[in-house]
Subunit: 104 residues, 2 copies
């Protein structure tokens, strides 16, 4: 019983990190916890290249963490924000920040 | 003010993942949350090769997450367990498990 739940635990942790465990994905997800941002804002705040940021936003969109909406401004602006799934990571980030504050 | 703390937050998250963000490190750290284990037990429970597991345990030892002790059994056995720093990750794992249960 305890072995089974441990295995389930390990499996969940690995599976979670397959989705969110790349550094750029984490940085973008964490950055969007603050609220909706435009592509260029995210570029500035994360320090990612346009190419990397595009790819990461596409991946996060496909996995359902990030939503995008387009505003007919001049020039046309695309806004990125967290979906419910993206917001649901906030307790994970909180615990990582608590840990980092104490241990890094 | 909010920008500063956001930057600090992003930075902490990235820095944390530089330490714990590789899949094998996470699996081993998570596995040791259950308690002290021998090398071969860890090999079985994680599915890592001897070579990978040695390297990961060395890395985690150097970073202060894992302690080792040797028992003069026949054959000599090495036991691995979490240090205080390693145990301190348990709230992070708990939040990841909660998240995974709901979203994966």
């Amino acid at each position: 019983m305890s072995t089974e739940s441990a295995e389930k635990g390990v499996c969940c942790v690995v599976e979670s990190f397959e989705q969110i465990g790349s550094q750029w994905r984490l940085v973008v997800l964490h950055d969007l916890q603050e609220g909706e941002k435009r592509f260029n804002e995210l570029k500035r705040s994360t320090g990612a290249s346009s190419r990397t940021l595009s790819r990461v936003l596409d991946d996060l969109g496909e996995m359902g963490f990030v939503s995008r909406r387009t505003e007919a401004d001049a020039p046309i602006a695309t806004y990125y924000s967290l979906s419910e799934k993206g917001h649901s990571l906030s307790p994970v980030f909180e615990e990582i920040e608590n840990w980092a504050e104490e241990w890094l």
